[in-house]
Amino acid sequence: DIDDVGHKYYLELVLEDVLDKDSTVNCTAEVLYHLGNKNIAPDVQFTLEGELKNTEEADNIFYSRIKSLEKELVAENIPDSHGNVPPEMEPVRLLAWVASGYVIWQNSTENTKFQLAQIKRVKQVKRSDEYLEFDYTILLHEMVSQEIIPWQMTVLWHPQHGVQVTQDSRQPKHASQ
Protein backbone atom coordinates (compact mmCIF):
# COMPACT_ATOMS: atom_id res chain seq x y z
CA ASP A 1 0.00 0.00 0.00
CA ILE A 2 1.33 3.38 -0.90
CA ASP A 3 -0.72 6.11 0.74
CA ASP A 4 -2.54 8.40 -1.63
CA VAL A 5 -0.94 6.69 -4.60
CA GLY A 6 -2.09 3.11 -4.96
CA HIS A 7 -1.01 -0.51 -4.55
CA LYS A 8 2.38 -1.71 -5.65
CA TYR A 9 3.22 -5.33 -6.40
CA TYR A 10 6.72 -6.77 -6.58
CA LEU A 11 6.89 -9.75 -8.87
CA GLU A 12 9.37 -12.45 -9.70
CA LEU A 13 8.35 -14.33 -12.78
CA VAL A 14 9.57 -16.69 -15.43
CA LEU A 15 8.90 -15.89 -19.06
CA GLU A 16 8.36 -18.95 -21.19
CA ASP A 17 8.62 -18.92 -24.96
CA VAL A 18 5.21 -19.94 -26.31
CA LEU A 19 6.88 -21.66 -29.26
CA ASP A 20 9.60 -23.41 -27.25
CA LYS A 21 8.63 -24.44 -23.73
CA ASP A 22 12.23 -25.10 -22.73
CA SER A 23 13.30 -21.56 -23.50
CA THR A 24 12.79 -19.47 -20.38
CA VAL A 25 13.98 -16.11 -19.08
CA ASN A 26 13.74 -14.89 -15.50
CA CYS A 27 12.16 -11.53 -14.91
CA THR A 28 11.47 -9.16 -12.06
CA ALA A 29 8.79 -6.48 -12.24
CA GLU A 30 7.02 -3.78 -10.29
CA VAL A 31 3.39 -3.02 -10.99
CA LEU A 32 1.64 0.01 -9.56
CA TYR A 33 -2.14 0.17 -9.67
CA HIS A 34 -3.25 3.76 -9.24
CA LEU A 35 -5.70 4.62 -6.53
CA GLY A 36 -9.14 5.76 -7.54
CA ASN A 37 -8.82 6.73 -11.16
CA LYS A 38 -9.66 3.62 -13.13
CA ASN A 39 -8.75 5.20 -16.43
CA ILE A 40 -5.02 5.14 -15.98
CA ALA A 41 -3.14 2.02 -16.95
CA PRO A 42 -1.00 0.48 -14.21
CA ASP A 43 2.67 1.50 -14.22
CA VAL A 44 4.96 -1.34 -15.12
CA GLN A 45 8.73 -1.53 -14.70
CA PHE A 46 10.58 -4.72 -15.50
CA THR A 47 14.04 -6.21 -15.80
CA LEU A 48 14.89 -9.22 -17.93
CA GLU A 49 17.63 -11.48 -16.66
CA GLY A 50 18.91 -12.68 -19.98
CA GLU A 51 18.00 -12.24 -23.60
CA LEU A 52 14.93 -12.97 -25.60
CA LYS A 53 15.32 -15.27 -28.56
CA ASN A 54 16.09 -13.79 -31.94
CA THR A 55 13.06 -14.10 -34.19
CA GLU A 56 14.47 -12.33 -37.26
CA GLU A 57 14.22 -15.27 -39.63
CA ALA A 58 10.60 -16.13 -38.87
CA ASP A 59 9.67 -12.45 -38.84
CA ASN A 60 11.14 -11.91 -42.29
CA ILE A 61 9.45 -14.98 -43.73
CA PHE A 62 6.07 -13.80 -42.47
CA TYR A 63 6.72 -10.24 -43.63
CA SER A 64 7.67 -11.30 -47.15
CA ARG A 65 4.70 -13.62 -47.41
CA ILE A 66 2.20 -10.91 -46.50
CA LYS A 67 3.93 -8.32 -48.67
CA SER A 68 3.67 -10.64 -51.65
CA LEU A 69 -0.06 -11.33 -51.28
CA GLU A 70 -2.04 -10.19 -54.29
CA LYS A 71 -5.09 -9.32 -52.26
CA GLU A 72 -5.21 -7.94 -48.73
CA LEU A 73 -5.47 -10.66 -46.11
CA VAL A 74 -8.93 -11.21 -44.61
CA ALA A 75 -9.89 -13.89 -42.13
CA GLU A 76 -12.49 -14.70 -39.52
CA ASN A 77 -12.74 -16.79 -36.38
CA ILE A 78 -9.19 -17.61 -35.42
CA PRO A 79 -9.19 -20.15 -33.89
CA ASP A 80 -12.41 -21.64 -35.22
CA SER A 81 -14.99 -23.15 -32.88
CA HIS A 82 -13.01 -26.37 -32.61
CA GLY A 83 -9.70 -24.70 -31.82
CA ASN A 84 -8.22 -25.05 -35.29
CA VAL A 85 -5.86 -22.44 -36.71
CA PRO A 86 -4.67 -22.87 -40.30
CA PRO A 87 -0.85 -22.92 -40.17
CA GLU A 88 -0.51 -19.82 -42.33
CA MET A 89 -2.72 -17.92 -39.88
CA GLU A 90 -0.62 -18.76 -36.85
CA PRO A 91 1.61 -15.64 -37.11
CA VAL A 92 -1.53 -13.51 -37.55
CA ARG A 93 -2.86 -15.02 -34.33
CA LEU A 94 0.42 -14.45 -32.49
CA LEU A 95 0.48 -10.84 -33.65
CA ALA A 96 -3.03 -10.35 -32.27
CA TRP A 97 -1.95 -11.93 -29.02
CA VAL A 98 0.94 -9.50 -28.61
CA ALA A 99 -1.16 -6.51 -29.59
CA SER A 100 -4.00 -7.55 -27.28
CA GLY A 101 -1.43 -7.57 -24.48
CA TYR A 102 -1.13 -3.83 -24.91
CA VAL A 103 -4.91 -3.35 -24.89
CA ILE A 104 -5.19 -5.55 -21.81
CA TRP A 105 -2.47 -3.60 -20.03
CA GLN A 106 -4.16 -0.32 -20.77
CA ASN A 107 -7.47 -1.58 -19.39
CA SER A 108 -6.39 -3.62 -16.39
CA THR A 109 -7.16 -2.95 -12.74
CA GLU A 110 -6.62 -5.04 -9.63
CA ASN A 111 -10.05 -6.54 -10.24
CA THR A 112 -9.73 -7.67 -13.82
CA LYS A 113 -8.12 -10.64 -15.53
CA PHE A 114 -8.23 -10.49 -19.30
CA GLN A 115 -7.37 -13.11 -21.89
CA LEU A 116 -7.61 -13.01 -25.66
CA ALA A 117 -10.49 -15.41 -26.41
CA GLN A 118 -10.69 -15.27 -30.19
CA ILE A 119 -10.02 -13.16 -33.27
CA LYS A 120 -13.44 -12.52 -34.76
CA ARG A 121 -12.14 -10.79 -37.83
CA VAL A 122 -8.87 -9.53 -39.25
CA LYS A 123 -8.45 -7.37 -42.29
CA GLN A 124 -5.18 -6.21 -43.72
CA VAL A 125 -5.10 -2.51 -44.55
CA LYS A 126 -3.07 -1.48 -47.56
CA ARG A 127 -0.22 0.87 -46.82
CA SER A 128 2.20 2.75 -49.02
CA ASP A 129 5.08 2.51 -46.55
CA GLU A 130 6.97 -0.56 -45.33
CA TYR A 131 4.70 -1.30 -42.37
CA LEU A 132 2.07 -4.00 -42.29
CA GLU A 133 -1.28 -2.86 -40.93
CA PHE A 134 -4.07 -5.09 -39.64
CA ASP A 135 -7.49 -4.12 -38.43
CA TYR A 136 -8.55 -6.68 -35.82
CA THR A 137 -11.83 -7.27 -34.06
CA ILE A 138 -10.99 -9.47 -31.10
CA LEU A 139 -12.93 -10.95 -28.22
CA LEU A 140 -11.46 -10.43 -24.78
CA HIS A 141 -12.56 -12.72 -21.96
CA GLU A 142 -12.68 -11.03 -18.57
CA MET A 143 -12.39 -13.74 -15.92
CA VAL A 144 -14.03 -12.05 -12.91
CA SER A 145 -17.19 -10.86 -14.65
CA GLN A 146 -17.00 -13.72 -17.16
CA GLU A 147 -17.88 -11.25 -19.89
CA ILE A 148 -16.76 -11.50 -23.49
CA ILE A 149 -15.87 -8.05 -24.72
CA PRO A 150 -15.46 -7.28 -28.41
CA TRP A 151 -12.60 -4.91 -29.08
CA GLN A 152 -11.32 -3.27 -32.21
CA MET A 153 -7.62 -2.62 -32.60
CA THR A 154 -5.45 -1.30 -35.38
CA VAL A 155 -2.04 -2.95 -35.35
CA LEU A 156 1.09 -1.86 -37.12
CA TRP A 157 4.04 -4.22 -37.48
CA HIS A 158 7.45 -4.33 -39.04
CA PRO A 159 10.23 -6.90 -38.44
CA GLN A 160 12.66 -4.25 -37.29
CA HIS A 161 10.24 -1.80 -35.69
CA GLY A 162 8.07 -4.18 -33.70
CA VAL A 163 4.38 -3.97 -32.82
CA GLN A 164 2.29 -0.86 -32.33
CA VAL A 165 -1.36 -0.53 -31.50
CA THR A 166 -2.27 2.78 -33.08
CA GLN A 167 -5.93 2.75 -32.28
CA ASP A 168 -8.23 0.65 -30.18
CA SER A 169 -11.78 0.85 -28.92
CA ARG A 170 -14.20 -1.26 -26.97
CA GLN A 171 -17.13 -2.38 -29.10
CA PRO A 172 -20.79 -2.81 -28.17
CA LYS A 173 -21.71 -6.43 -27.34
CA HIS A 174 -23.54 -7.31 -30.56
CA ALA A 175 -20.63 -6.13 -32.68
CA SER A 176 -19.10 -9.59 -32.45
CA GLN A 177 -21.96 -11.43 -34.10
Partner: protein
Amino acid sequence: QKVFRVIPQNDEQVEIINSLASNMQVDFWQPDSVTLVRPKMQVDFRIEADLSSEVEDFLKESGVEYRVLIDNLQDAVDAQFDSKARTTRHSYEKYNNWETIAAWTADIAAQNPDLVSRSVIGETYEGRPMYILKMGKSGSNKKAIFMDCGFHAREWISPAFCQWFVKEAVETYGKDTVMTTLLDNLDFYVLPVVNIDGYVYTWTTDRMWRKTRSKNAGSIFGCIGTDPNRNFNAGWCTLGASKNPCDSTYCGSAPESEKETKALADFIREHLSTIKAYLTIHSYSQLLLFPYSYTYNLASNHEELNSIAHAASKELASLYNTKYTYGQGATTIYPAAGGSDDWAYDEGIKYSFTFELRDTGRYGFILPESQIKPTCEETLLAVKYIANYVLQHLY
Protein backbone atom coordinates in the same frame (compact mmCIF):
# COMPACT_ATOMS: atom_id res chain seq x y z
CA GLN B 1 -7.98 -57.64 -46.71
CA LYS B 2 -8.46 -57.65 -50.46
CA VAL B 3 -11.33 -58.36 -52.77
CA PHE B 4 -10.57 -60.10 -56.08
CA ARG B 5 -12.56 -60.28 -59.31
CA VAL B 6 -12.08 -63.31 -61.52
CA ILE B 7 -13.91 -64.32 -64.72
CA PRO B 8 -13.37 -68.05 -65.27
CA GLN B 9 -13.34 -68.75 -69.01
CA ASN B 10 -14.19 -72.45 -68.91
CA ASP B 11 -14.99 -75.44 -66.69
CA GLU B 12 -11.31 -76.00 -66.02
CA GLN B 13 -10.98 -72.54 -64.53
CA VAL B 14 -14.17 -73.03 -62.52
CA GLU B 15 -12.48 -76.14 -61.11
CA ILE B 16 -9.45 -74.01 -60.17
CA ILE B 17 -11.63 -71.65 -58.22
CA ASN B 18 -13.26 -74.61 -56.52
CA SER B 19 -9.90 -75.92 -55.36
CA LEU B 20 -8.96 -72.48 -54.09
CA ALA B 21 -12.11 -72.34 -52.02
CA SER B 22 -11.53 -75.78 -50.56
CA ASN B 23 -7.96 -74.99 -49.51
CA MET B 24 -8.52 -71.71 -47.73
CA GLN B 25 -11.08 -69.34 -46.30
CA VAL B 26 -12.71 -67.58 -49.21
CA ASP B 27 -15.61 -65.25 -48.65
CA PHE B 28 -17.67 -65.09 -51.87
CA TRP B 29 -19.36 -61.77 -52.54
CA GLN B 30 -20.76 -62.87 -55.85
CA PRO B 31 -22.10 -65.46 -56.39
CA ASP B 32 -23.07 -66.34 -52.81
CA SER B 33 -21.29 -69.65 -52.85
CA VAL B 34 -18.62 -71.46 -54.83
CA THR B 35 -21.15 -74.02 -56.01
CA LEU B 36 -22.85 -71.35 -58.10
CA VAL B 37 -19.73 -70.42 -60.07
CA ARG B 38 -20.10 -70.91 -63.82
CA PRO B 39 -17.90 -70.05 -66.83
CA LYS B 40 -17.98 -66.41 -68.02
CA MET B 41 -19.46 -65.35 -64.71
CA GLN B 42 -18.07 -62.43 -62.71
CA VAL B 43 -16.75 -63.95 -59.49
CA ASP B 44 -15.89 -61.63 -56.58
CA PHE B 45 -14.38 -62.89 -53.36
CA ARG B 46 -12.68 -61.59 -50.22
CA ILE B 47 -9.39 -62.94 -48.85
CA GLU B 48 -7.59 -62.25 -45.55
CA ALA B 49 -4.64 -59.89 -45.95
CA ASP B 50 -1.92 -62.45 -45.23
CA LEU B 51 -3.25 -64.92 -47.80
CA SER B 52 -3.66 -62.47 -50.66
CA SER B 53 -0.19 -62.87 -52.15
CA GLU B 54 -0.57 -66.65 -52.14
CA VAL B 55 -3.88 -66.27 -53.93
CA GLU B 56 -2.32 -63.98 -56.52
CA ASP B 57 0.51 -66.41 -57.13
CA PHE B 58 -1.94 -69.28 -57.44
CA LEU B 59 -4.13 -67.45 -59.94
CA LYS B 60 -1.10 -66.37 -61.99
CA GLU B 61 0.29 -69.92 -62.09
CA SER B 62 -3.08 -71.31 -63.09
CA GLY B 63 -3.40 -68.82 -65.90
CA VAL B 64 -6.66 -67.44 -64.53
CA GLU B 65 -7.20 -63.78 -65.27
CA TYR B 66 -7.98 -61.70 -62.24
CA ARG B 67 -7.92 -58.19 -60.94
CA VAL B 68 -7.89 -56.70 -57.48
CA LEU B 69 -11.25 -55.01 -57.03
CA ILE B 70 -10.60 -53.58 -53.58
CA ASP B 71 -7.02 -53.29 -52.44
CA ASN B 72 -7.72 -52.40 -48.82
CA LEU B 73 -11.14 -53.24 -47.52
CA GLN B 74 -10.82 -51.33 -44.25
CA ASP B 75 -9.95 -48.10 -46.03
CA ALA B 76 -12.90 -48.49 -48.34
CA VAL B 77 -15.24 -49.03 -45.42
CA ASP B 78 -13.86 -46.01 -43.58
CA ALA B 79 -14.20 -43.85 -46.66
CA GLN B 80 -17.91 -44.49 -46.64
CA PHE B 81 -18.21 -42.71 -43.32
CA ASP B 82 -16.10 -39.79 -44.49
CA SER B 83 -18.55 -38.70 -47.13
CA LYS B 84 -21.69 -39.53 -45.23
CA ALA B 85 -22.76 -37.36 -42.30
CA ARG B 86 -19.23 -37.18 -40.87
CA THR B 87 -20.18 -34.46 -38.49
CA THR B 88 -22.73 -36.58 -36.71
CA ARG B 89 -20.48 -39.55 -36.02
CA HIS B 90 -19.46 -39.69 -32.39
CA SER B 91 -15.81 -39.37 -31.50
CA TYR B 92 -14.14 -39.26 -28.10
CA GLU B 93 -11.39 -37.11 -29.56
CA LYS B 94 -13.59 -34.52 -31.19
CA TYR B 95 -16.24 -32.14 -29.95
CA ASN B 96 -19.66 -33.69 -30.48
CA ASN B 97 -22.84 -31.70 -30.95
CA TRP B 98 -25.82 -32.34 -28.68
CA GLU B 99 -27.65 -34.60 -31.14
CA THR B 100 -24.59 -36.81 -31.36
CA ILE B 101 -24.11 -36.86 -27.59
CA ALA B 102 -27.78 -37.70 -27.01
CA ALA B 103 -27.56 -40.61 -29.44
CA TRP B 104 -24.35 -41.73 -27.81
CA THR B 105 -25.97 -41.90 -24.36
CA ALA B 106 -28.52 -44.34 -25.76
CA ASP B 107 -25.89 -46.38 -27.59
CA ILE B 108 -23.43 -46.67 -24.73
CA ALA B 109 -26.16 -47.84 -22.38
CA ALA B 110 -27.50 -50.33 -24.91
CA GLN B 111 -24.02 -51.73 -25.57
CA ASN B 112 -23.13 -52.12 -21.91
CA PRO B 113 -26.36 -53.02 -20.11
CA ASP B 114 -24.66 -54.55 -17.07
CA LEU B 115 -22.59 -51.43 -16.48
CA VAL B 116 -24.58 -48.48 -17.80
CA SER B 117 -28.20 -47.40 -17.63
CA ARG B 118 -29.65 -44.16 -18.89
CA SER B 119 -32.46 -42.13 -17.43
CA VAL B 120 -33.92 -38.64 -17.70
CA ILE B 121 -33.76 -36.32 -14.71
CA GLY B 122 -35.75 -33.45 -16.17
CA GLU B 123 -36.18 -31.11 -19.10
CA THR B 124 -34.33 -28.01 -20.14
CA TYR B 125 -36.00 -24.66 -20.71
CA GLU B 126 -36.27 -25.42 -24.41
CA GLY B 127 -37.72 -28.85 -23.69
CA ARG B 128 -34.71 -31.12 -24.19
CA PRO B 129 -34.40 -34.24 -22.05
CA MET B 130 -31.60 -34.18 -19.52
CA TYR B 131 -29.95 -37.58 -19.71
CA ILE B 132 -27.99 -39.09 -16.87
CA LEU B 133 -25.93 -42.27 -17.02
CA LYS B 134 -25.71 -44.54 -13.99
CA MET B 135 -22.48 -46.50 -14.12
CA GLY B 136 -21.50 -49.47 -12.01
CA LYS B 137 -21.97 -53.17 -11.49
CA SER B 138 -25.37 -53.68 -9.90
CA GLY B 139 -25.27 -54.41 -6.22
CA SER B 140 -27.12 -53.59 -3.05
CA ASN B 141 -26.51 -50.72 -0.69
CA LYS B 142 -24.03 -49.11 -3.05
CA LYS B 143 -22.88 -45.58 -2.39
CA ALA B 144 -22.43 -43.21 -5.31
CA ILE B 145 -20.39 -40.39 -6.77
CA PHE B 146 -22.14 -37.71 -8.80
CA MET B 147 -20.32 -35.98 -11.65
CA ASP B 148 -21.63 -33.38 -14.06
CA CYS B 149 -20.25 -31.59 -17.10
CA GLY B 150 -21.37 -28.76 -19.32
CA PHE B 151 -22.70 -26.27 -16.77
CA HIS B 152 -21.35 -23.45 -18.89
CA ALA B 153 -22.13 -23.73 -22.57
CA ARG B 154 -18.81 -22.55 -24.02
CA GLU B 155 -16.67 -24.93 -21.96
CA TRP B 156 -16.66 -27.66 -24.59
CA ILE B 157 -13.83 -29.70 -23.08
CA SER B 158 -16.09 -30.37 -20.10
CA PRO B 159 -18.75 -32.57 -21.80
CA ALA B 160 -15.89 -34.17 -23.72
CA PHE B 161 -14.45 -35.31 -20.41
CA CYS B 162 -17.69 -36.85 -19.16
CA GLN B 163 -17.93 -38.85 -22.37
CA TRP B 164 -14.31 -39.93 -22.01
CA PHE B 165 -14.90 -41.03 -18.43
CA VAL B 166 -17.81 -43.23 -19.47
CA LYS B 167 -15.77 -44.75 -22.29
CA GLU B 168 -12.88 -45.54 -19.96
CA ALA B 169 -15.25 -47.10 -17.46
CA VAL B 170 -16.82 -49.50 -19.94
CA GLU B 171 -13.57 -50.25 -21.77
CA THR B 172 -11.34 -50.87 -18.78
CA TYR B 173 -13.81 -52.60 -16.48
CA GLY B 174 -12.38 -56.03 -15.85
CA LYS B 175 -8.96 -54.94 -17.11
CA ASP B 176 -7.95 -52.05 -14.86
CA THR B 177 -7.96 -53.00 -11.17
CA VAL B 178 -8.79 -49.53 -9.87
CA MET B 179 -11.64 -48.96 -12.30
CA THR B 180 -13.01 -52.43 -11.66
CA THR B 181 -12.93 -51.94 -7.90
CA LEU B 182 -14.58 -48.54 -8.25
CA LEU B 183 -17.40 -49.79 -10.46
CA ASP B 184 -17.93 -52.90 -8.34
CA ASN B 185 -18.21 -50.94 -5.13
CA LEU B 186 -19.59 -47.57 -6.19
CA ASP B 187 -22.09 -46.17 -8.62
CA PHE B 188 -21.25 -43.15 -10.74
CA TYR B 189 -23.97 -40.80 -11.83
CA VAL B 190 -22.65 -38.98 -14.90
CA LEU B 191 -24.58 -36.02 -16.30
CA PRO B 192 -22.79 -35.35 -19.60
CA VAL B 193 -24.34 -31.93 -20.30
CA VAL B 194 -26.27 -29.91 -17.73
CA ASN B 195 -26.88 -26.78 -19.79
CA ILE B 196 -27.97 -28.43 -23.04
CA ASP B 197 -29.78 -25.40 -24.45
CA GLY B 198 -26.70 -23.27 -23.96
CA TYR B 199 -24.48 -25.92 -25.48
CA VAL B 200 -26.66 -26.12 -28.58
CA TYR B 201 -26.55 -22.32 -28.81
CA THR B 202 -22.74 -22.37 -28.87
CA TRP B 203 -22.90 -24.70 -31.84
CA THR B 204 -25.54 -22.79 -33.79
CA THR B 205 -25.07 -19.14 -32.91
CA ASP B 206 -22.55 -17.90 -30.38
CA ARG B 207 -19.51 -19.98 -29.47
CA MET B 208 -18.90 -17.78 -26.41
CA TRP B 209 -22.31 -18.19 -24.75
CA ARG B 210 -22.18 -19.19 -21.07
CA LYS B 211 -25.58 -19.13 -19.45
CA THR B 212 -28.84 -21.00 -19.91
CA ARG B 213 -31.27 -19.79 -22.58
CA SER B 214 -34.24 -18.95 -20.44
CA LYS B 215 -36.16 -15.72 -20.95
CA ASN B 216 -35.85 -13.32 -18.08
CA ALA B 217 -39.18 -11.87 -16.98
CA GLY B 218 -39.24 -8.13 -16.92
CA SER B 219 -35.92 -7.61 -18.61
CA ILE B 220 -36.19 -4.41 -20.61
CA PHE B 221 -33.44 -5.27 -23.02
CA GLY B 222 -34.69 -8.82 -23.58
CA CYS B 223 -31.56 -10.30 -22.10
CA ILE B 224 -31.55 -14.06 -21.98
CA GLY B 225 -30.13 -16.64 -19.62
CA THR B 226 -29.03 -17.27 -16.07
CA ASP B 227 -25.60 -18.41 -14.92
CA PRO B 228 -26.40 -21.93 -13.70
CA ASN B 229 -23.42 -21.88 -11.37
CA ARG B 230 -24.75 -18.84 -9.53
CA ASN B 231 -28.25 -20.25 -9.32
CA PHE B 232 -27.92 -22.67 -6.40
CA ASN B 233 -29.06 -22.02 -2.87
CA ALA B 234 -25.65 -21.42 -1.36
CA GLY B 235 -25.30 -17.85 -0.19
CA TRP B 236 -27.36 -17.16 -3.28
CA CYS B 237 -26.53 -13.88 -5.06
CA THR B 238 -24.62 -12.38 -2.13
CA LEU B 239 -21.27 -11.98 -3.83
CA GLY B 240 -19.53 -12.68 -7.10
CA ALA B 241 -22.86 -12.79 -8.91
CA SER B 242 -24.99 -10.21 -10.68
CA LYS B 243 -28.61 -9.18 -10.27
CA ASN B 244 -28.61 -7.90 -13.82
CA PRO B 245 -30.17 -10.36 -16.29
CA CYS B 246 -27.92 -9.02 -19.03
CA ASP B 247 -24.75 -10.04 -17.19
CA SER B 248 -22.88 -13.30 -17.64
CA THR B 249 -23.00 -14.09 -13.92
CA TYR B 250 -26.70 -13.35 -13.48
CA CYS B 251 -27.86 -15.38 -10.50
CA GLY B 252 -31.44 -15.83 -11.72
CA SER B 253 -34.74 -14.64 -10.29
CA ALA B 254 -34.45 -17.04 -7.35
CA PRO B 255 -32.37 -20.06 -6.32
CA GLU B 256 -33.10 -22.98 -8.67
CA SER B 257 -35.13 -20.71 -10.94
CA GLU B 258 -33.68 -22.65 -13.87
CA LYS B 259 -35.26 -25.96 -14.86
CA GLU B 260 -31.81 -27.43 -15.33
CA THR B 261 -30.48 -26.54 -11.89
CA LYS B 262 -33.75 -27.59 -10.26
CA ALA B 263 -33.59 -30.98 -11.99
CA LEU B 264 -30.02 -31.47 -10.82
CA ALA B 265 -30.77 -30.38 -7.26
CA ASP B 266 -33.91 -32.53 -7.09
CA PHE B 267 -31.97 -35.58 -8.23
CA ILE B 268 -29.25 -35.07 -5.66
CA ARG B 269 -31.78 -34.47 -2.89
CA GLU B 270 -33.61 -37.67 -3.85
CA HIS B 271 -30.39 -39.67 -3.70
CA LEU B 272 -28.76 -37.80 -0.86
CA SER B 273 -28.37 -40.84 1.35
CA THR B 274 -26.24 -42.59 -1.28
CA ILE B 275 -24.26 -39.76 -2.89
CA LYS B 276 -20.95 -39.40 -1.07
CA ALA B 277 -19.03 -37.11 -3.45
CA TYR B 278 -19.89 -34.38 -5.94
CA LEU B 279 -17.67 -33.45 -8.90
CA THR B 280 -18.45 -30.68 -11.35
CA ILE B 281 -16.31 -30.13 -14.45
CA HIS B 282 -15.62 -26.71 -15.96
CA SER B 283 -12.92 -24.94 -17.97
CA TYR B 284 -10.58 -23.13 -18.18
CA SER B 285 -7.72 -22.29 -15.77
CA GLN B 286 -6.32 -25.61 -14.57
CA LEU B 287 -7.69 -25.46 -11.05
CA LEU B 288 -9.03 -27.96 -8.55
CA LEU B 289 -11.37 -26.17 -6.15
CA PHE B 290 -13.40 -27.07 -3.10
CA PRO B 291 -15.85 -25.16 -0.83
CA TYR B 292 -16.39 -22.47 -0.04
CA SER B 293 -16.74 -19.91 -2.78
CA TYR B 294 -19.68 -18.00 -1.29
CA THR B 295 -17.72 -17.14 1.84
CA TYR B 296 -14.10 -16.94 2.91
CA ASN B 297 -14.91 -19.24 5.82
CA LEU B 298 -13.18 -22.59 5.75
CA ALA B 299 -15.11 -25.80 5.17
CA SER B 300 -15.28 -27.99 8.28
CA ASN B 301 -13.01 -30.60 6.68
CA HIS B 302 -10.85 -28.03 4.91
CA GLU B 303 -7.57 -29.79 5.74
CA GLU B 304 -8.84 -33.09 4.36
CA LEU B 305 -10.18 -31.49 1.17
CA ASN B 306 -6.92 -29.65 0.74
CA SER B 307 -4.83 -32.79 0.97
CA ILE B 308 -7.13 -34.67 -1.41
CA ALA B 309 -6.84 -31.82 -3.89
CA HIS B 310 -3.09 -31.74 -3.47
CA ALA B 311 -2.75 -35.46 -4.16
CA ALA B 312 -5.24 -35.43 -7.04
CA SER B 313 -3.36 -32.54 -8.67
CA LYS B 314 -0.14 -34.47 -8.36
CA GLU B 315 -1.74 -37.49 -10.02
CA LEU B 316 -2.97 -35.30 -12.84
CA ALA B 317 0.44 -33.72 -13.35
CA SER B 318 2.17 -37.10 -13.43
CA LEU B 319 1.07 -37.75 -17.00
CA TYR B 320 2.01 -34.65 -19.02
CA ASN B 321 3.31 -32.31 -16.32
CA THR B 322 0.17 -30.16 -16.52
CA LYS B 323 0.24 -27.85 -13.53
CA TYR B 324 -2.93 -27.35 -11.54
CA THR B 325 -3.48 -24.92 -8.70
CA TYR B 326 -5.76 -26.15 -5.94
CA GLY B 327 -7.51 -24.68 -2.94
CA GLN B 328 -10.67 -23.16 -1.58
CA GLY B 329 -12.77 -21.57 -4.32
CA ALA B 330 -13.12 -18.08 -2.86
CA THR B 331 -9.38 -17.53 -2.57
CA THR B 332 -8.11 -19.63 -5.44
CA ILE B 333 -10.29 -18.33 -8.25
CA TYR B 334 -12.74 -15.73 -6.96
CA PRO B 335 -15.56 -15.39 -4.45
CA ALA B 336 -18.82 -16.47 -6.09
CA ALA B 337 -22.09 -17.39 -4.48
CA GLY B 338 -24.70 -19.83 -5.74
CA GLY B 339 -22.31 -22.53 -6.90
CA SER B 340 -23.39 -26.16 -7.12
CA ASP B 341 -20.30 -27.41 -5.31
CA ASP B 342 -21.01 -25.27 -2.23
CA TRP B 343 -24.67 -26.25 -2.30
CA ALA B 344 -23.88 -29.97 -2.52
CA TYR B 345 -21.39 -29.60 0.31
CA ASP B 346 -23.91 -27.85 2.56
CA GLU B 347 -26.39 -30.64 1.80
CA GLY B 348 -23.96 -32.98 3.52
CA ILE B 349 -21.84 -34.25 0.64
CA LYS B 350 -18.49 -33.70 2.28
CA TYR B 351 -16.32 -34.36 -0.76
CA SER B 352 -17.22 -31.69 -3.26
CA PHE B 353 -14.87 -30.51 -6.00
CA THR B 354 -14.88 -28.22 -9.01
CA PHE B 355 -12.42 -28.87 -11.80
CA GLU B 356 -11.36 -26.12 -14.18
CA LEU B 357 -9.68 -28.02 -17.02
CA ARG B 358 -7.10 -26.90 -19.64
CA ASP B 359 -5.75 -24.51 -20.57
CA THR B 360 -4.61 -21.35 -18.78
CA GLY B 361 -5.64 -18.90 -21.47
CA ARG B 362 -3.71 -19.56 -24.64
CA TYR B 363 -6.79 -21.09 -26.26
CA GLY B 364 -9.14 -20.75 -23.31
CA PHE B 365 -12.60 -21.95 -24.16
CA ILE B 366 -11.60 -22.90 -27.70
CA LEU B 367 -9.26 -25.71 -26.73
CA PRO B 368 -8.04 -27.51 -29.90
CA GLU B 369 -9.46 -30.99 -30.45
CA SER B 370 -5.94 -32.36 -30.44
CA GLN B 371 -5.86 -31.62 -26.71
CA ILE B 372 -9.04 -33.50 -25.86
CA LYS B 373 -7.31 -36.85 -25.40
CA PRO B 374 -4.40 -35.67 -23.21
CA THR B 375 -6.68 -33.44 -21.15
CA CYS B 376 -9.11 -36.26 -20.54
CA GLU B 377 -6.38 -38.81 -19.78
CA GLU B 378 -4.77 -36.67 -17.12
CA THR B 379 -8.06 -35.56 -15.59
CA LEU B 380 -9.18 -39.17 -15.35
CA LEU B 381 -6.22 -39.89 -13.08
CA ALA B 382 -7.35 -37.18 -10.69
CA VAL B 383 -10.97 -38.29 -10.75
CA LYS B 384 -9.99 -41.91 -10.11
CA TYR B 385 -7.82 -40.79 -7.22
CA ILE B 386 -10.66 -38.86 -5.63
CA ALA B 387 -13.15 -41.69 -6.23
CA ASN B 388 -10.79 -44.17 -4.69
CA TYR B 389 -10.24 -41.94 -1.68
CA VAL B 390 -13.99 -41.61 -1.22
CA LEU B 391 -14.35 -45.39 -1.41
CA GLN B 392 -11.74 -45.75 1.32
CA HIS B 393 -13.49 -43.17 3.48
CA LEU B 394 -17.17 -43.92 3.11
CA TYR B 395 -19.45 -42.29 5.61
